[in-house]
């Protein structure tokens, strides 16, 4: 046996790593409400969730997205690789632009969604919720492309809300107001560079800030200083979840199941079944799942659809079943909330076709309400509405207003 090596690490502490922003969030939190996100400690909330939510719609919020999976895709065939991976045509992307993408397995079932950051034809970054290194490297076989997991190499903040552009200007980012939605720009910051993209998960005006972990705390401190007069505050994932529902954005493994990990094949969904047909481009040549998706489209074999619902009453329809004429079960709620902005009881719901497509009337949601240890069952009428539920003009306005 060879000489003993030094003890590598404390395996008891694995699975609860802290991001570079953890110390500042620890200073802020009064709820001590922590969740695990992909192995990192991440706040569910730091203060009252309603206040955090309204800060997204009123001022400026900071959410630590460092745990998000980030992959660097580079090399002569990076574009070819990505175009074969995702369903839309990314060849149309210009440099320094971001594109929302989805990708499927060979049977045309949804694996995950995410964003592609294009820096050049040979340099991309893919950001997503589920780990994809295994899938990406398998798909890279035979292509001149390099896949690198850079999750730990980049610290990131989602900076969202109506006053965010104003605050970034205060920070001295010259010309930030010219950035259009999905633009990427780099700004000098300290000894290095701050990368800013006009992207987010809130459906509001907002940016995502990407920085070397070494400079993470500097960024946090200067950002909060710049936002001092604009109620800038850190938020947790509960408030963010409310905002993303209002924006009609899907959450993987909530609104659809990643096909790779479903035990029952009937639970897998195609893009057509979750309202993502606009993402599928059959004209661009081969991509994973193309054959199956084309067949599904031609034969009209999609079984489900994902719709937005406006439900009467004010009780959120969490995990509720949906009925036609209060009798026939036709689907289920995937995400639900009382929208504080819309003053509406909204939900994302999966329906069995033809419901939601040809049959849109007489839809009811079965909601159970806990009235102090007494369950009350409510059959609430629901109306199919288009999503996003909430899309303020400031989301796309360039240059954005100061508030």
């Amino acid at each position: 046996m060879t000489a003993m090596q030094p003890k590598p690490f404390d395996s008891r502490k694995l699975g609860m790593r802290q991001t570079p922003f953890y110390p500042r969030q620890m200073d802020w939190t009064i709820t001590n409400d922590w969740l695990l996100w992909a192995g990192y400690t991440s706040p569910g909330s730091l203060d009252v969730v309603e206040q955090e939510y309204f800060a997204i719609r009123n001022s400026a919020t900071v959410f630590d997205i460092t745990p998000m999976c980030k992959y660097r895709v580079s090399g002569p065939e990076a574009e070819l690789f990505l175009n074969r991976l995702v369903t839309r045509d990314i060849r149309k992307m210009r440099d320094n632009r971001v594109s929302y993408v989805i990708w499927c397995d060979d049977e045309g079932h949804m694996l995950d969604d995410g964003t592609v950051f294009k820096y050049s034809n040979t340099e991309y970054r893919l950001c997503c919720q589920e780990r994809q290194y295994d899938w990406l490297t398998d798909n890279a076989i035979g292509l001149n492309v390099e896949i690198q997991d850079v999750t730990d190499d980049i610290a990131a903040l989602a900076f969202q809300g109506p006053t965010t552009c104003r605050i970034l200007k205060n920070l001295g980012l010259a010309g930030v107001e010219e950035m259009k939605p999905f633009d990427i720009r780099e700004f000098p910051f300290g000894k290095g560079t701050l990368s800013v993209s006009r992207t987010g998960f809130t459906g509001d005006l907002g940016y995502e800030l990407w920085i070397d972990p070494e400079q993470a705390l500097d960024l946090w401190d200067t950002l909060f200083e710049a936002g001092r007069h604009y109620d800038i505050r850190p938020i947790g994932s509960h408030a963010l979840d409310l905002a993303r529902m209002e924006a009609g954005l899907l959450q993987p493994n909530v609104d659809f199941q990643s096909a790779e990990f479903t035990l029952r094949h009937s639970r897998r969904r195609s893009p057509f079944e979750i309202g993502m047909e606009w993402q599928v481009d059959f004209t661009k040549g081969h991509f994973n799942g193309r054959r199956a998706l084309l067949k599904e489209k031609q034969q009209g074999t999609s079984k489900y659809c994902l719709v937005g619902l406006d439900i009467e009453g004010n009780k959120p329809a969490h995990a509720a079943l949906i009925y036609h004429r209060q009798k026939k079960e036709i689907g289920r709620i995937t995400s639900a909330m009382w929208s504080p902005t819309l003053k509406t009881n909204i939900a994302l719901a999966e329906l069995k076709r033809p419901f939601g497509i040809d049959q849109k009337e007489d839809i009811w949601v079965e909601i159970y309400v806990d009235k102090e240890m007494k369950w009350e069952r409510v059959m609430a009428r629901a109306r199919i509405v288009s999503t996003p539920f909430f899309a303020p003009a400031r989301k796309n306005q360039t240059p954005p207003a100061d508030y």
Binding site: M4, Q5, D10, S11, L14, G39, R131, Q132, D134, E260
Partner: protein, 537 residues
Amino acid sequence: MKKYDAIVVGAGHNGLVTACYLAKSGLDVLVVEKHDYIGGAAVSLELYDGWKYSNCSYVCSLFRPEISRDLELYKYGLQVIPYGGGGVLMENGDHLAALSDHDAARQEIARHSKKDSEAYDRYSANLMRQCKFIKPLLMRTAPDPTSFKPRDLQELLYLGKRFHGLSEPEMYEMARFWTMSVVEFLDEYFESDVMKAWIAGTGIIGTALGPCSPGTAYVLLHHYMGEVDGNIGAWGFARGGMGSITKALADCLKDKGGEIRAGSGVENILVKNGRAVGVALENGDEFYSDTIISGMDVKRTFLKTMETKHLPDDFVRQVKRFKIRGSSGKLNIALDGLPEFPQLPEGSQVTRGDFHFTDSVERMERAYDDWKRGTWSKDPYLDVLIPTQIDPTMAPEGKHYMTVFVQYAPYDLADGEVWDDKNREAFAESTISLISKYSPNFRDLILHKEVRTPLDIEEKAGLTEGNIFQGELTFDQLLFNRPVPGYAQYRSPVKGLYMCGSSTHPGGGVMGAPGANAAREILRDMGAGRQTGRQAA
């Protein structure tokens, strides 16, 4: 002389499960056991003052919860405590820790291969899909595909329906899975040697095959489909050792009016005019019943415990051909303290679960080469546990009990050697010296050891050739082919003579499913209705 409603031969866990169900249905049941103690391969003996060993089987996962529930075994003291931890100590000084937390596990595996750390989720999902298919079959009698009986047709239809519940790629996948080697299966997911070695171990345990032999992928699944409280794939300790399972069953049986006679084995199953009528014991006693159920393996039952003239020739030939090769041995060790493993980080969970020293499938396959040559492995695959870190009942305070499953070891040694004391000691030494390589203080802590070669396992647990599953779990010996074609429904060619041991569907492991399924068939024949051995949904 008194005539019983049913006599069960052998007080192992399956025999006792059958007996309990029969007694629960109001039958007058006798269980006869060769040894002074009961338990078969689920036994805890005190061979060294203050220590209780799990002499044969040593961990619990497969025991069907339906049985615990039907028989209310908690009332008789049965408690299964899940354990975490485990892993592989590597030759290069590193290790792979098995961690229960998903993110922690991913980060640990990523130290060895980033790709593998993510492939593990994909692998687990696929294995779980296979489990979902097979699990409901465990508590059902395997259908006879040649029969036109409505019940067989119905069960075949059930199988077919389940199969058709799969997607197309899954059907292909399943056919491959049931026949391929565990290494081929793992190669589809993993790149690092230690990762494959860690998982491949469960594909060879108790099987006279190497990790590269076809059919071992299924063995992996067989070990994976157990559960502790719904956690598929989880393993636990029966508090007080594996003997507490059979003790609980025995107490349950007595509570229901059943009787156990230990101390003299069955010498001969009595057959008159083509039907079983009773048993003759080694001590000369005879007991009578129209229903005799053997918990022993098929070879011992039909070739050693009755006259083969009562059996059809083709049946005898098939029983002779049944593969039941011994491939493993066991060490039970009383320790003066907890052994140290300096290459592990302080507080590591590795030694709290099942840990191993084989860090490549190459080494595992080489260990199998030794078996083929008729000798025990020089570099054996070890499955090591120290249950006393969790179970306070098995050793005095501060002392420990270590169970070491050792693979491979043949039943017959080559070159004219036999399993004598010299060879038994040499076999033990190969294991102890391997552990000592990783634990400098291990050897000095040994207070007592019990060594079980395949021959000892045969003599002490009654398992032919020391095969722990009462017959190998290869596809040719599963479902309607277990133990032999045409006799997979717990009945034998002799009227009134039944089988309930692990030689029958669904096979080995301390599962109890064969015993429960057999009871259901026996009661069906008696017309006693279906109030037993619930059919899993």
